[in-house]
Symmetry: C2
């Protein structure tokens, strides 16, 4: 067993400190001098709630940072720094090494610097606070959707929801498919670069963490608008087209997984129709798939899901408690 | 049971947002525009490691913020903002109400704004990231102690250590004394204001979180100096003088508790002897007790504890793992 301080020094210190950092890991606080406005967010992964016991440590390291980057992206912020609070039942070298590998692989890719943190003994849980820089007037908010806007999502939906259902034993997938979804659910792509460019043509976005339905409701509530989704247009995870999935899940069940599954960490944004061509150029240049899934409507029209031209009955969205 | 979002809205939103906050709780990130350099720190309280199961929720709310303020104070930073990550087994209204009461009582006292956070389901654990503003050149660091400096602590030592020993059943205290130590251990005073003034006359400090011995070792290692402590000068918690404590703990055991007990969250700082009068004026003005407990020595003299003129044998300091 390692001491706490040896542990921090061994696995988490010595990485790049990054621009604007006057003092990184090693004193009581980090010191930062940023002239730009900052965006700050914090998110926690708890064993048993956000991931199954026994999840690969490198996957956890990546995802703990990725879910925070997703929040930065949802504001159009450029990821810069993060603090890590790690609670572990015991300090196993192999686990820590793998966790740090996953964490810093994404940190390096995003040019983010670890500037502080702490470790505790207890049930496995990882909290990261991430900090990004933003340009004033180039911010994506939840309250900026307007009736007539198109509703878009990046990437695909439902993969994480399908992984969780299989992991909970609700359905049985081949180990090959299960492992593919497992990796996809944890090694999330960053949408931060795409989101920063998106601020040129749009100013309303949220990340899909609790499920498309719940997160779209946030936009509608904050923007005081309604929404109509065309469910046959949802970009389902490509794995959903495999025979082993279509045999297990009806079309309705696949759509339901995409609507309520959660943890996709894709961007949901609204766009004035005049910007469609600009969006296609951006998506092409950055190689980020975008799909139009519906339209923002007046508040009085409410929240509507259409499938094959028929209105669907909604159920409440996911809640932690 | 409350939904996650109702929960956040009900107990944690609607407090003052604070100067420099462009956007607080409610979007994917908080937005901050601070012209001053920032100090950032994060600390976690885990049930079973940092507090006993059943600890009062208002005490936890106060302390979760207080331990982070202690880190800000140790840098000489002015507390400004914080983010809260709260993991709970279930969302009980009475618990949340009490937790928020304790948390915001200290936040209001320190004029700190909650700018973001999240809630998760899981074993009880509280992570706060606190952010303060600092003036360049008015920073307290661990690496600035010089041979000949006096070593000081604020307040008193050992109270939290005695509380933990009693709570673990190692010794039996009267319920009156136990409850007094319980309250003292959680409702920690803030040393932030004192620390900011202290930056005028000193530039080396740390907060005592893991125990005086371990934290003094950090200063010595970072400053490349030695230290001599005069143990009879340690400011023991006033409760240590009660007959029920002196009957249970020998003088050596009382001193040991002060040296290794941890969680006192007092400031440990070093001061050039020329500044002694200025320190006494500051301590008097702000009504913060300060006690000289030793002297910084050259690195070659090592780390020495003296009691009644005799050198004591040291044991290793506290480690979480």
């Amino acid at each position: 067993m390692l001491g706490e301080f040896a542990l921090i020094a061994k696995y988490f210190a010595g990485h790049d400190t990054g621009k604007g950092v006057r003092l990184g890991v090693g004193d009581d606080c980090a010191l930062l001098h940023s002239k730009a406005p900052l965006a700050l967010t914090t998110d926690t992964l708890v064993e048993g709630s956000h991931f199954f016991a026994g999840t690969r440590a490198d996957f956890l390291g990546w995802r703990a940072l990725a879910v925070n980057i997703s929040d930065l992206a949802a504001m159009g912020a450029k990821p810069r720094y993060f603090l890590l609070s790690l609670t572990l039942p015991e300090a196993k070298k192999a686990w820590l090494k793998a966790f740090a590998k996953g964490l810093f692989a994404l940190a390096r890719q995003e040019k983010m610097a670890l500037i502080g943190g702490n470790t505790s003994k207890g049930p496995l849980s990882i909290t990261i606070t991430a900090i990004g820089s933003i340009k004033p007037q180039r911010v994506l908010l939840r309250n900026a959707a307007k009736p007539g806007d198109d509703i878009y999502v990046t990437g695909s939906l439902g993969g994480a929801g399908l992984y969780v259902k299989a992991g909970q034993g609700e359905l049985k997938l081949s180990s090959e498919l299960f492992n593919e979804l497992y990796a996809q659910s944890f090694l999330l792509p960053s949408r931060a670069r795409f989101a920063r460019k998106l601020t040129r043509i749009c100013n309303c976005a949220i990340d899909i963490s609790d499920g498309l339905t719940g997160d779209l409701r946030h936009i509608c509530r904050e923007s005081k608008v309604g929404a109509q989704l065309i469910l046959e247009n949802l970009p389902l995870n490509p794995c959903f087209a495999l025979p082993e999935v279509t045999e297990l899940l009806s079309r309705e069940a696949r759509i339901d997984t995409a609507l309520y599954g959660g943890c996709d960490y894709e961007l949901l944004f609204t766009l004035a129709p005049a910007q469609r061509a600009a969006l296609q150029q951006l998506a092409c240049k950055l190689q980020v798939p975008v799909t139009k899934i519906g339209t923002i409507t007046p508040l009085s029209d409410g929240f509507n899901f259409m499938l094959d031209g028929r209105r669907q009955i909604l159920r409440p969205s996911f809640e932690h408690f």
